[in-house]
């Protein structure tokens, strides 16, 4: 009888079956035993920063194109070696992600397509205060797989937050963050909450509004802020906003109030770095 052919003994067959079986078992257990998704794509600058903090760099495939924009994000050169995306479905699919992270205010059509095509999409809510930041960190950690690193980051953040003391005072100084063209954020926004933690009264509570409000110069002059932050003074390229900086009324206001600069990148998105913004405000309060 010939050797190759019918001579494939039962023993060989069993061995082959076992090998194949082991292979698949190994593959399967590999997934379960892995530390979660290995190809993480973030399409929003806020989630970029959280992903960068919690996930190992080699598990991150792509961050949004604003990740290295100094005015939106503090990541800076972290993005070297990473692909930067503009949040379109095509780009994301081309990267073969196993996890897509964005905020719940992300562009709905893109998110629907990705979900329909079966990609896991994590939508994190916008953080309105430091507790929300903590919640988001936890949510993200569980999606990417909790490990030492994530626990360390979350642990440190929580410790720092709980160690903050909110000064109790009947007369709180008034802080206003006066954004471009007169925009201010009201109650229940990250900026207001952080400022309140630092011991300030905020424009949201003074004028009793939530959401955004356009406050004209007259109004600003009458509420007499003790501390003011002009969000747009860093802008180099000229626009109407830069013209407004030279308005005599604003100049008059600046004579009567203290001006500080809080880089937008710190508190545009809720992240552990927002604590730096808190510290800046706390220092400013001491100085007042």
């Amino acid at each position: 009888m010939p050797v190759n052919g019918k001579r494939l003994s039962t023993f060989s067959r069993v061995i082959s079956a076992w090998c194949i079986g082991l292979f698949f078992l190994g593959y399967a257990t590999n997934i379960f035993a892995s530390e979660g998704p290995q190809r993480i794509v973030s399409i929003n600058v806020c989630t970029d920063q959280l992903v960068a903090l919690l996930a190992e760099k080699d598990r991150i495939v792509s961050l949004s194109h604003l990740a290295n924009d100094p005015y939106s994000s503090w990541l800076g050169t972290f993005v070297d070696g990473l692909v930067l995306n503009h949040g379109t479905a095509e780009e994301v699919i081309a990267l073969s992600p196993d996890l897509v992270v964005t905020t719940s205010f992300g562009f709905r059509p893109t998110i629907s397509i990705l979900k329909k095509l079966g990609y896991p999409v994590l939508e994190l809510p916008i953080a309105k205060n430091l507790d929300d930041v903590s919640t988001n960190l936890v949510l993200l950690a569980s999606a990417i797989g909790d490990n030492e690193k994530t626990q360390a980051v979350i642990g440190q953040f929580n410790r720092e937050v709980s160690s903050q003391t909110v000064p109790l005072n009947s007369q709180l100084p008034l802080f206003v963050s006066y954004e471009a063209n007169g925009w201010t954020m009201g109650e229940n926004s990250l900026a207001n909450n952080v400022a309140q933690m630092a011991g300030f009264e905020t424009i949201g509570s003074r004028l009793d509004f939530s959401g955004g409000l356009k406050v004209d110069l007259e109004k600003l002059l009458t509420i007499k802020p003790d501390l003011i932050e002009l969000g747009y003074q860093w802008s180099v390229a000229p626009a109407l906003v830069s013209q407004n900086l030279w308005h005599p009324a604003l100049q008059e206001l600046l004579k009567r109030t203290t001006l500080i600069n809080i880089p937008d990148a710190l508190w545009l998105c809720g992240s552990p770095k927002t604590l730096d913004a808190l510290h800046i405000l706390q220092q400013a309060r001491e100085a007042l």
Binding site: A180, K214, E218, A237, A239, V241, P248, A249
Partner: protein, 333 residues
């Protein structure tokens, strides 16, 4: 002549209205409205800040409300007299949008930082180019051609303005399109007043110089020539006057439409339909109308600012439609 007496009475009444609205405008603001509101404001902020609010915020706003409104009114009246068409208006024929494009280029390329006069000058330049274009394309006569050309130019300039804003590196630039296309005089300063008023006043003078010839132009171009009207002189006066007024206004307040359409139409029956008399009446009425619209903008408390151009469009849009319908009917008879 009774006619002239009525006319001066009208001008005095309009002048009084403008003065009253000017004063009202000074008394309205987010910090304190009316006598009692302003007293509270005075107590709250102290005399120095009060004076800053009045001199640096409310005063320029009231002045601009009048000068911009008056310019829009008189330019509309002059264009209608010159083109012998009641539908002509700087907004409709694309002159304002072109001015906005010029202004946007001046600001967002940084030119106006280096040379502040670049702002009104480039806006005026934009207007001039469009008016010449229109003369070439639509020539004289055909209403439909003129308005279609104007619509095309207006759309093009609007698109180019948006493009220019998008190309700016400033992240807020593309949001500012709302200001340029809908107009606003909120938080303008006295420097805007100084920057625009000389051009506006010269524009008014040019248009005033053309006024009597506009009367004669009612008889048609050839008859006007036979009566000694210098057609090219009138063309230059009307075109430059309009460009100066509209350019300077748009440079600091954005595009505000329909005032130049509504005001002359309302005033025309009151001045015996004479183009020359229509100019001063439209100026005063236009100034009053815009002051009024700006007061409305401040009395309606929105979280986001209601733009001036929205108020004038809400009134003027339906008005324009009715006007077209009426003209269509009258041409049929």
């Amino acid at each position: 002549m009774d006619n002239i007496k009525n006319y001066f009475f009208l001008l005095s009444a309009l002048g009084l209205l403008a003065v009253l609205l000017f004063i009202a405008s000074l008394m309205i603001g987010s910090a304190g409205t009316g006598f009692s509101g302003m007293r509270v404001m005075f107590d709250q902020v102290g005399p120095e800040v009060f004076s800053v609010i009045m001199k640096e915020i409310r005063l320029p706003r009231a002045i601009l409300g009048f000068t911009v409104g008056a310019s829009l009114g008189v330019a509309g009246a002059a264009l209608q007299g010159y083109l012998r068409n009641p539908l002509a208006e700087p907004g409709v024929i694309g002159v304002s949008t072109a001015a906005a494009l010029g202004a946007v280029i001046a600001i967002y390329t940084g030119l106006s930082v280096v040379m502040p006069l670049a702002l009104p000058l480039m806006a005026i330049g934009g207007s001039l180019i469009v008016i010449f274009l229109l003369q070439t394309i639509a020539g004289s006569g055909n209403v439909a051609t003129l308005i279609l050309a104007g619509v095309a130019i207006s759309s093009l300039c609007g698109a180019l303005t948006s493009l220019a804003l998008n190309l700016s590196e400033n992240p807020f630039a593309s949001l500012e399109i709302v200001f340029w296309l809908l107009g606003s005089i909120t938080d303008r300063s006295m420097s805007h007043v100084w920057l625009s008023t000389p051009f506006i006043v010269i524009g008014w003078l040019f248009l005033a110089a053309s006024s009597r010839s506009l009367d004669v132009l009612s008889l048609g171009e050839e008859t006007a020539v036979s009566l000694g009207v210098n057609l090219s002189r009138i063309r230059i006066l009307v075109i430059s006057g309009t460009a100066l007024c509209i350019g300077a206004c748009t440079a600091i307040a954005g595009v505000i439409g329909f005032v130049g359409l509504i005001v002359p139409h309302l005033m025309r029956p009151l001045v015996g339909h004479q183009p020359s008399r229509l100019l001063p009446a439209s100026a005063l009425a236009g100034g009053s109308l815009l002051l009024c619209a700006d007061i409305i903008v401040r009395l309606i408390n929105f979280d986001t600012e209601l733009k001036l151009g929205v108020v004038t469009a809400l009134i003027g849009g339906p008005f324009f439609l009715i006007l077209i319908l009426r003209l269509k009917v009258s041409h049929k008879t």
